[in-house]
Assembly symmetry: C3
Homo-oligomer: 457 residues x 3
Amino acid sequence: MTDSATNMRLKLPITCFILEIILIILFGVLVQYDKETDAREWHKLNHSDYENDFYYRYPSFQDVHVMIFIGFGFLMTFLQRYGFSSVGFNFLIAAFALQWATLMQGFFHGMHGGKIHIGVESMINADFCTGSVLISFGAVLGKTSPVQLLIMALFEVTLFAVNEFILLSVLGTKDAGGSMTIHTFGAYFGLMVTRVLYRPNLDKSKHRNSSVYHSDMFAMIGTIYLWMFWPSFNSAITAHGDDQHRTALNTYYSLAACTLSTYAMSSLTAHDGKLDMVHIQNAALAGGVAAGTAGEMMLTPYGSMIVGFLAGIISVLGFKYLSPILEDKLKIQDTCGVHNLHGMPGILGAIVGAVTAAVATKDVYGDGLEDVFPMIADGKEASYQGGIQAISLAVTLGIALLGGAIVGFILKLPIFGQPPDTICFEDSIYWEVPGEEESHEDQMTDVRTEEAEKLNC
Amino acid sequence: MTDSATNMRLKLPITCFILEIILIILFGVLVQYDKETDAREWHKLNHSDYENDFYYRYPSFQDVHVMIFIGFGFLMTFLQRYGFSSVGFNFLIAAFALQWATLMQGFFHGMHGGKIHIGVESMINADFCTGSVLISFGAVLGKTSPVQLLIMALFEVTLFAVNEFILLSVLGTKDAGGSMTIHTFGAYFGLMVTRVLYRPNLDKSKHRNSSVYHSDMFAMIGTIYLWMFWPSFNSAITAHGDDQHRTALNTYYSLAACTLSTYAMSSLTAHDGKLDMVHIQNAALAGGVAAGTAGEMMLTPYGSMIVGFLAGIISVLGFKYLSPILEDKLKIQDTCGVHNLHGMPGILGAIVGAVTAAVATKDVYGDGLEDVFPMIADGKEASYQGGIQAISLAVTLGIALLGGAIVGFILKLPIFGQPPDTICFEDSIYWEVPGEEESHEDQMTDVRTEEAEKLNC
Amino acid sequence: MTDSATNMRLKLPITCFILEIILIILFGVLVQYDKETDAREWHKLNHSDYENDFYYRYPSFQDVHVMIFIGFGFLMTFLQRYGFSSVGFNFLIAAFALQWATLMQGFFHGMHGGKIHIGVESMINADFCTGSVLISFGAVLGKTSPVQLLIMALFEVTLFAVNEFILLSVLGTKDAGGSMTIHTFGAYFGLMVTRVLYRPNLDKSKHRNSSVYHSDMFAMIGTIYLWMFWPSFNSAITAHGDDQHRTALNTYYSLAACTLSTYAMSSLTAHDGKLDMVHIQNAALAGGVAAGTAGEMMLTPYGSMIVGFLAGIISVLGFKYLSPILEDKLKIQDTCGVHNLHGMPGILGAIVGAVTAAVATKDVYGDGLEDVFPMIADGKEASYQGGIQAISLAVTLGIALLGGAIVGFILKLPIFGQPPDTICFEDSIYWEVPGEEESHEDQMTDVRTEEAEKLNC
């Protein structure tokens, strides 16, 4: 029996159909192939086919794509009865968000003669924006209906594009891996949404708000994919050449160092020294988040390692000591602990980026300064760039918190089919859930009986 | 106890050894490195090493490779007791088929002076052909022995190469992503095989012909990988430059739109609005199939979205209403529903391709017309190309249905160890299956007891 | 309750922190960006950004990276109660080893003016060295604490770098895919460690030293990823152009042939013809190992297939007949059977490499001879190169066995918290392990009750 309030039979199809039809109409009116994907335009350029940006961005795009759909999707399957929803709603809202993000980002910073031009770079940017929505999904995981999530994605993508426009286009902020635009924004937006959606009686679903052995194994698939491909994520839209190369390298070492500090802290903070899967699945990734802004800069390898090392420590401490306080005192029920994986490490990354920018010199960057800091190459002081970076963090936090609050109140409208407090973290509200497997002993008996019957007949 | 008829101890080794030894001999006689892989020939060309096609095809190849082995393999693990066979037989027949496909495709359209030349493009083509075999495997999943599957692969690869030769080389059809050559062919071939192998008493194995919670999670790994890498699949062998770039882009948006219509239809067609994993796992991929022919054309982004949107709707409706009819009325037992994922969306893709080709103009394609439609660039009417596309669909259906019928009768020979009706969808006929895990509560007790014993001694 | 001897609360954090802090200090003193990653240096070179090696190595790097973290990690999850440790310790020691390998390999063959220069090539080499450590981990799986594993990695990486230096830099050996440097070295090193750590009472943990259905499914994820990306592994650091292309091709066919012989032998050696998951998970990969040295040479496609075919046969026979003997007679407890997957196939690969090198001629390689065999192109006899290859195998075996013995004795020191014989292959010693899932029937009841209650109130 399904409560009629959570019955999706009309709500979900109507939402999906309306959104998709609007998308198709807007794409028809506004979107065009860019010069690298349009048959006529590309051939006008008279470039060698090998110079098409496809070859220099698409492998990175595919790595990012895996992070969005496998990485985020499976990372959230740790809950014992929420695997279908974790990977399935992740799939749904990501498929919507990447289309909507193409429009919103194109509208704010990709218009050419009234048209939005798209190609591999816009695909990466759309996936990035989607990542931000999925971070917010992590905060409300298990407590929202798919319709609520689609509505959240609709607004969050829009606000993401506004914030990104202010930072990258207006202020001239550097944030290629999105410590601010993606991680800080997604985390604090999601935290504010979950704050507004606070459920005082959530402990009635408490027994489902935990993992089982196999669900933790599935979650590790997500973790490892995020970890492995983070160097591609941070480098996906930096300038070509040394910039992409250096960003991947910095992120690689930041993550490696972060992994060691995560294991150390997880063991140290347990009274019996046992490792906690929650820390491994999440905190070990904080090094990627924290290298999101400064990764393309001349952070140096050991600088990257220090950043990752600190990010791991902060993140485990957050899971262990801060999350319970946030829940008890501030009424922030953060299912996946996105504050610890994306929030604090995102702020750390923003600060590291501001400091690294503020000490940039022509001596260190040489003629590469133009690629990384065009404003400094144009004559601005490095400290000015550093200041811009710091202001950008404040702007991001402001838009995320305010936007999250507003969207939270919208999602509170009692028409989107959200689950009751007693049945959160539960697939069977929104999914046909199959029965459990018979034990293999039964199966064996089963087969033997059948074989015996067959021989007898 | 294993029925002697299904005992593979001699049948499988003999089949594998004979096939592999024949392959090695034929490779020894017929196959050579192409100009991009041969040390002497490549260096004669005096190209820069960076111009080697490896760098412009290999990343796409690896994505396709993942789709073949992880994508198809895990997609079929949804059955509760057939995970070893799904991923394991997928592995076996794919490893055979890609070798045999190298020979057959090389024989029909890759001969140079009596030798088959191979390199990354032939690897992609071999994987494509393998994909077709795996689609047919989906139709007969759970009802065939590994020897039957190898025999099926042997014939299907051969017929695939014949059909592909007629289309691509004789008629001049465009089908880079294989809506016809791969999906339509593989689906209708497999449906015909399963029709001929009709089992009136299959309901005796009915309790195993369904999923359990964890098997659905494993299947989602397959689904998501297929979904993510489909842009690489459709673009893997298109012309370099804008063509690959545009194909990837079109497929990306087709899939995204398809995902939304799939979720909408899945919820809409359930009486309680609950999503059905079968739809999500399969129908959400139909957008990739349907963009297989027209993906490289100037389909426009919103055109791609419309195609994907329709494909998702058709596919869910197929699962819900058509599959039961096919089984009851036409005696087609289609385990994975390949008709809904590959059959109908493949035909849709062929039609979209024919229409898009028929309206192609020099104005839209510019100098890129040569890459996409060499016949039109050579002076043929666009409508002629459209007609060729339509004829190709008919040819493909004809060869697939006829070929499938013949191969079905061959597979009926009672010497290949096929499982009885009572023990279908069951790993333990062909695999050593381990027991079930003790419960973790037992384990804990277990460890505590051991520790207590250790302390006592 | 945890035995205080295996309590990691101080041991693991101290080890991790000390190691990481030493790494950061040494990186700060010794490591610099190379010319392709340094902003100033790259722009001095005046190359097009598209010529940066990032674009020609990074996709291969990411494939290797997936093999290290997903491939090895999940391959080892086959044990029923050791999934957290398999994938989690794999993660930890790999994250450490790749940092330490950067230093050690840089120290031995990457110094430029007193500094170690790093970029994508050093990242691939570091991952390769890490692979060797993970092979050794397979031999001791389930019987060591994370601290022991970190200590093992510390020494093994160092000895790996020494052996690699002797082979590649001193002797001029060719071994791009590491049949010797990675597989033979890692396997025999690990076998010697596990020999020294021999546990006479290991049968007390015997009931946990086996798989269950789902753990075998997780392990297949590892297998398939290793199999798919092995062509990228063997080709990752060969010369650009035809060399990388040819290596990937050879490995692809070697693996395909190996898969068929593996299935044949697995069925043939079982009394009832049933396939054994241990063989499929491991022996099917032996073709990649065996093509590690000769893969870049003009091995020919059919030559590659013969090598793979033999490797599969040897590997299954090893699992079936040799492993029990090694355990009973030589007291080598090889948990994952690394002798069968990496040991013997590694030696086979070394021999194939020596023979293929010995018959190399200018006629076959043309101007490509310089890339593959610089010594022969410089005037040395091919037989000399063959001799060097053979000597390299002996050197590798010597260093691996001697080094493994010494490190084994170090690991025996009773301070590293190794588990007792009675609690091997058990996650709960070092991890917080969650309880088991309620059955879905209970869940359903649960939900229905909750819903009923809600309606009543």
